[in-house]
């Protein structure tokens, strides 16, 4: 246990240090924040963190020549990857944030602006309880209705078969997606206190 090589992919705009704080708190020693090909190839699991606008995030990923490398590692070698927030949104076909931008296209669905009834403020910021549709593996230590921290203005509009969890904010908002070895969460587990730490433990134990 705790022996996996975990790489938090550094593409310039993510809150990499927050994610690393949370995972190293759980005792994972072989943890790197990196964009190097060598480290990513050696990793047992990848984390694609996110705080950023879609265009900037995906552009940065491409500028650092990470797209082909990640396609190889994730789609061919089937390495587990967890996208967080905009990191999760990048797994989609693309996003309409500040014009249309093509994503990694690993999962069906598009990222769209939250269109909500009048009294709902945008961005969707704060702690919201999630409904879990698929407990394994991401939520195997998490009770249904637990609170997680969200902070976003756009959401992943995806089909029900890949939606692992959702929350209610004036509409059904995708909270987590999964397909084979590809996982993503809209909320920030690194910032969701004990629930977030339990989430990471569940996810990392499963790989």
């Amino acid at each position: 246990m705790n022996k996996q090589n975990i790489v938090i992919i550094d593409y310039g705009v993510g809150n990499t240090h927050s994610v690393s704080n949370a995972i190293s708190y759980l005792g994972y020693k072989k943890l790197k924040i990196s964009d190097s090909e060598e480290q990513i190839k050696k990793a047992d699991a990848l984390i694609l963190p996110g705080v950023g606008a879609y265009e900037e995030a995906i552009k940065n990923l491409r500028v650092r020549n990470l797209e082909d490398l990640l396609n190889e590692e994730v789609l061919v070698k089937k390495k587990p990857i967890l996208g967080i927030c905009v990191g999760m949104q990048m797994l989609s076909e693309g996003s309409e944030e500040n014009g249309w931008h093509k994503g990694l296209n690993w999962m069906k669905g598009k990222v769209k602006k939250l269109e909500l009834p009048e009294k709902f403020a945008i961005p969707h910021v704060g702690w919201n309880n999630i409904s879990i549709g698929n407990k394994e593996p991401m939520f195997n230590r998490i009770e249904n209705d637990s609170n997680f921290y969200f902070d976003h203005s756009y959401y992943f509009d995806c089909a029900d078969d890949i939606m692992a969890a959702w929350c209610d904010y004036g509409k059904k908002v995708t909270a987590a997606v999964q397909k084979d070895n590809i996982f993503g969460v809209q909320f920030h587990p690194e910032k969701s206190q004990t629930n977030g730490l339990k989430f990471f433990r569940g996810f990392l134990n499963s790989i």
Binding site: N15, H17, W127, Q193
Partner: protein, 288 residues
Amino acid sequence: MLKKRIVANVVVKDGIVVQSINFKKYLPVGKAAIALEFLNNWGIDEIILTDISASKKNAEPDFEQIRKATLKCHVPLTIGGGITKIEHIKEMMHCGSDKISLNQAAIKNPKLITEAAHIFGDQCIVVSVDAVKTDKGYRVYDYVTGKTIDTSPADFCFKAQELGAGEILINSVDRDGSYQGFDLELINSVCDKVKVPVICCGGAKNANDFIQALTKTNASAICAANFFHFTEHSVNTTKANILKETKVRLETHADYNECSFDSELRLKKKDDITLEEMLFIKIEKEII
């Protein structure tokens, strides 16, 4: 359902956490790392760390200190103070920050809001506004020059939102450290004007003030600074009291729902028999 947030503002001056009174008087509290760790353990929903000396001294943010302070903070953290360019924000994101707050930049260089929102997303940019009451109504206050600006906080915040701010932090200078409760009129004037979430700050004395702000304004988050520093478990006891009136997140092991509070909403001592029985209860530390 989205819960309203209870937020702590940790004010740092010259590297030390301080209690601020009316933006004039400062009393030392301690180290930022310890304040953040304890607030985190007591179940705070979010923390704002504000360095009030950086802009005054024209200094860059103290990245090394921030990196150390954030190690045990697993809740959302907004950092402000001395941010004047995009590179500062990039570096903040590598120091454990999740959002940044702009105060001086919003006054002097509002273009930075737009530029930053374009790169980091609007959800990452908090614009922090200090307000004073004048005979012309509420006005924006510049804490570096100590002067008021001839714009109402509501108009200023609306402009910030149009420029790309994802959240507004409205702070009442008059109520700062006064224990007089939140300025509900000021908060409502801003909430009526903007669509983005509003965090209000300044004047909290006890849980009742939080309840007032939560039920009588549309603020998404209620923030206090001094109030949280001086009692053990201040966050969960406050939340336990708020929960009797309205909904907030309370998921810590100690939820205080069986406890009684006095008229000032301070925790009352349990009776001796209960305390004696409690001596033999072993609370296992939760292993994650």
